[in-house]
């Protein structure tokens, strides 16, 4: 990896903000089976630049399987996942070589895990965690790396003086914010999130949601958020996809799906939420 690659995609970042006339991600007929059991079946959708899509459903509905197939963590059995790469336009990430896919994984894609400890290096300082993706794409100036790490810690509301502390010394909410900083520092275009607010206190959740909303807007990010929390998708997602038993039962504008659900399962899901 050379410094040149790094410089190139730093410049490219500005291009994200102007919309392109084609989808960023096109999913066609995606299926994943675990033996005879269906993980997810025949999922198709387009995600456009700047769009945030929520995937909801109960545990075991296949939403996490789908997310892992999209992010290249699992190999689907059938289907295509086309991503609009900076260099070569639409490419099927299922069939591309592993180096290319992993390169996407640390440049244009980001993955926010439910448990921050899965997405952070717990024995590395906060600054090192944020800097890793920069160094992975060729950054070799300690001062610059540190400056950008401090900038990002600030954006996720972590005090600069915590830069040399390890995440083990952080609260759950701080760890999750650090994970987000670590993921977004290289200016990705597509963020996958798996239950990003799961396991956090309600007050901490609100802060995180606000932060994510701001970052999505400022960076023009596209995102796919898997969650079972309908309040989270109402606040974050433009669009919703409802899954049941590995299949998509309903899609649409988030508030439309939640306020006027068409499918019986969605109606059940929405009416099961306790009103506060």
């Amino acid at each position: 990896m050379s410094g040149k690659v790094f410089a190139e995609f730093s410049q490219d970042f500005s291009k994200n903000l102007g919309g392109t006339p084609q989808p960023l991600l096109q999913v066609e007929g995606l299926s994943k089976f675990y033996g005879a059991r269906r993980g997810c079946a025949d999922v198709s959708f387009d995600l456009w630049p700047g769009e945030v899509m929520g995937i909801v459903g109960e545990s075991g509905s296949g939403k996490t399987t789908l997310l892992n197939c999209l992010a290249g963590h699992l190999a689907p059995d059938t289907g295509r996942v086309l991503f609009d790469t900076r260099a070569n336009g639409m490419q099927d990430t299922v069939t591309m070589s592993e180096p290319e896919r992993r390169m996407l994984g640390r440049t244009d894609w980001a993955f926010v895990h439910q448990h921050a400890s899965d997405g952070l290096r717990m024995n590395v300082s906060a600054g090192g965690n944020v800097g890793e993706r920069l160094m992975a794409v060729g950054a070799r100036n300690y001062g610059d790396i540190r400056e950008r790490a401090i900038d990002w810690l600030g954006r996720v509301e972590i005090a600069a003086e915590r830069i040399d502390d390890r995440p083990t010394a952080f609260s759950g909410g701080m760890r999750q914010r650090l994970q987000i900083a670590r993921n977004l520092v290289t200016g990705p275009r597509l963020v996958f999130m798996d239950e990003p607010t799961g396991g956090l206190d309600v007050s901490v959740q609100a802060r995180l949601l606000d932060l994510l909303r701001g970052l999505v807007r400022e960076m023009g990010l596209s995102a796919i958020i898997v969650t079972h929390d309908l309040a989270v998708v109402r606040l974050l997602a433009d669009r919703l996809m409802v899954m049941k038993d590995g299949q998509v039962v309903e899609t649409g504008l988030t508030d439309q799906v939640l306020d006027d659900p068409q499918h019986g399962y969605t109606q059940l899901l929405v009416s099961s939420v306790l009103q506060v």
Binding site: E51, A206, L235, D238, G252, L253, Q256, D259, Q262, G264
Partner: protein, 227 residues
């Protein structure tokens, strides 16, 4: 600007014996730029349902809802989102925001979403909040704990901070005192004057008479109650 054509809506309750409840049928009317149209009819006639259909919040069963170049009844989610961001404003009776976000940010958000520079967006939000007489000490607080009247004014500020070419107003003057009611009425008049097409529900008859050029009786579109 807004054209409703043969619009109908039916709710199907799958978990209650798949009961079909038709609520609206054959609704047709249009609103020109600079025109304000009031939806009237008794409670339960479907005024709010119609508003929500126009905003894309409810899914139309059939018919067309044309706003500018977009048919909300058939548009992709991203087209509706773009429409809401640029063209179609909505002042609802309820405020739904992320907890802990300061009021001035809530009001400035539609501008930020359009890419307005932050300083300018905040300045315009502040100006509108001041005009609506919301005490300045509240601007940096989240509106979630505000009184009904205060929340209503935050909602109005949010709906008027960007000059939307089309506006939906759901009881914009409810729970406001005389002074603030007057501010809202003049905001609506200014919007009309700049050419916005407006559809509103007003229980406040005086406000309706002052603002609206025409009335559309939603009761006409109510389907006969099937047994």
């Amino acid at each position: 600007m807004i054209q409703i054509e043969n619009l109908s809506k039916t709710f199907t309750l799958h978990n209650q014996g798949s009961a079909d409840i038709p609520v609206l049928t054959g609704a047709s009317f249009s609103v020109a730029p600079g025109e304000c149209v009031a939806l009237t009819g008794p409670s339960g006639a479907g005024k709010s349902t119609l508003m929500r259909l126009i905003y894309g919040n409810y899914l139309a069963a059939s018919g067309h809802i044309r706003i500018g170049h977009v048919d909300v009844a058939q548009a992709e989610p991203r087209q509706i989102i773009a429409l809401r961001r640029e063209t179609l404003g909505y002042v609802s009776q309820f405020l739904r925001v992320v907890p802990r976000v300061p009021t001035r940010e809530v009001v400035a958000e539609p501008l930020l979403a359009l890419g307005t520079p932050r300083e300018e967006a905040i300045a315009r939000a502040d100006a509108l909040l001041a005009r609506l007489n919301l005490p300045e000490r509240l601007w940096s607080l989240s509106p979630t704990t505000f009184s009904g009247g205060e929340q209503q004014r935050v909602n109005i500020a949010r709906g008027f901070v960007h000059p939307y070419p089309a506006l939906l107003l759901d009881e914009p003057t409810a729970s406001l005192d005389a002074g603030n009611r007057e501010v809202v009425l003049s905001l609506v008049e200014e919007a009309k004057a700049r050419g916005a097409a407006i559809i509103g529900i007003f229980h406040d008859e005086a406000a309706r008479d002052r603002l609206c050029d025409r009335q559309v009786d939603v009761g006409v579109f109510t389907p006969p109650r099937a047994a």
